[in-house]
């Protein structure tokens, strides 16, 4: 809630000092951006573990527990398997 209401002030609300043009926001909504990026990264990590890990590439070496556990979901969600 608060993350955007703070940034809401960046639009339009210019308080020009005498003569000097206002410096635009260079990194807008920094907190919101951080939140969006971290959400996307975590979501993609989950996507990776369900769909890819221990198939083509593996972060746990030669172990097949993740692969075998989500085996049916992986096939059914359209990922290549085996």
């Amino acid at each position: 809630m608060s993350s955007l209401s703070a940034s809401a002030a960046t639009h339009g609300a210019t308080t020009p000092e005498a003569g000097a043009p206002a410096i635009p926001v260079v990194v807008p909504h920094a907190r919101a951006v951080l939140l969006l990026v971290s959400t996307a990264v975590i979501a993609l990590a989950v996507y990776y573990f369900i769909g890819v890990d221990q198939g083509a590439v593996s972060v746990f070496g030669n172990d097949m527990h993740v692969h075998e556990f989500v085996h049916d979901a992986r096939h059914f969600l359209g990922f290549p398997c085996h």
Binding site: I50, F69, H71, D72, G78, C81
Partner: protein, 295 residues
């Protein structure tokens, strides 16, 4: 607001994943069982052939780490729900990026549109080139290439889709909504069509050509003995069709549920109806709807 939207996306994704799991448990598992039965039968037939030819028995196939029951109930459920939540989170991120940049679309309409984009970008378009396969289809030798090719397909389709939306918006001032949308869609079709034409068919991968000869896909053909008699049939066409059909339908359920569950929550959050008054559609004063997010 960002947190609330993401939370609602996760919730919608979890609900959608549960629904998709129920669908998969009822419709997909029988097909998967048939495919596994085919695979076992084929392995046995192959073993008999090898034995007759005096070849050493193939000790392939890893140990069964989980029983079929666990895979079909718990594994499938966990997989579908977590997948749904991951997609719900990405959906929420895309939705947030769209907010305030899509003219006078209502919050709930945007929800359905973004979910449609997710369905198209993450599943349907990659499926056109590399469709989902049940167990027993897919050679172990090519998993690396198949995995990479599939991800390239997903990446291109999602990125191009975002690009097409951006392009459509750029063209909107010149050509109007309708034509700009058509132009964006056409650009998407052309771009993804080129990628599809460039990527190889699975049957054309070098390992497959070397081991199995020239075929379009990896779907198992009939197994023959040295004299050319068929000792085991090819993969049953009806099982393959059923599996793929249900796979597509499950994604429709998943993305449909994400879009429709999220829609009313977003509507209430972003464009709440003023107390007492029923929401009247767009009074002539353009841009009348309050837009608390983008201001």
């Amino acid at each position: 607001m960002v947190k609330r939207i993401i939370g609602r996306g996760l919730l919608a994704g979890a609900v959608a994943g549960l629904l998709a799991f129920a669908f998969a448990r009822i419709f997909a598992e029988p097909q998967i069982d048939k495919a596994i039965a085919y695979e076992s039968g084929r392995d046995a037939a192959q073993e008999a052939l090898d034995k007759a030819a005096g070849l050493p028995p193939d000790m392939g196939g890893g140990p069964d780490l989980f029983s079929r029951t666990v895979q079909a109930d718990v594994g499938l459920g966990v997989g579908m729900v977590f997948f749904g939540m991951a997609m719900g989170a990405l959906f929420a991120v895309a939705y947030l990026l769209c907010l305030g940049r899509t003219g006078r679309l209502r919050a709930r309409t945007l929800s359905v549109l973004v979910a449609g984009g997710g369905l198209l970008g993450f599943y349907v378009v990659p499926f056109l080139k590399y469709p989902a396969n049940p167990p027993a289809i897919g050679h172990a030798e090519t998993i690396q290439q198949r995995g990479s090719l599939y991800l390239v397909m997903v990446l291109c389709s999602v990125v191009f889709l975002a690009g097409a939306v951006w392009l459509g918006q750029r063209l909107q001032t010149r050509f109007g909504n309708w034509n700009a949308t058509l132009l964006g869609a056409a650009a998407y079709v052309v771009a993804i069509g080129i990628v599809m034409a460039l990527l190889p068919s699975l049957g054309d991968l070098s390992d497959n050509v070397r081991l199995y000869g020239h075929h379009a896909t990896e779907t198992p053909l009939p197994l023959t003995d040295p004299r050319g008699h068929i000792v085991y049939p090819g993969f049953p066409a009806d099982v393959l069709f059923g599996f793929r059909l249900f796979s597509v339908l499950a994604q429709l359920v998943l993305w449909g549920a994400i879009g429709l569950v999220f829609a009313p929550m977003a509507q209430r959050l972003l464009q709440p109806a003023p107390a007492g008054a029923r929401p009247k559609e767009a009074s002539p004063g353009a841009g009348s709807a309050p837009d608390p997010v983008t201001t």
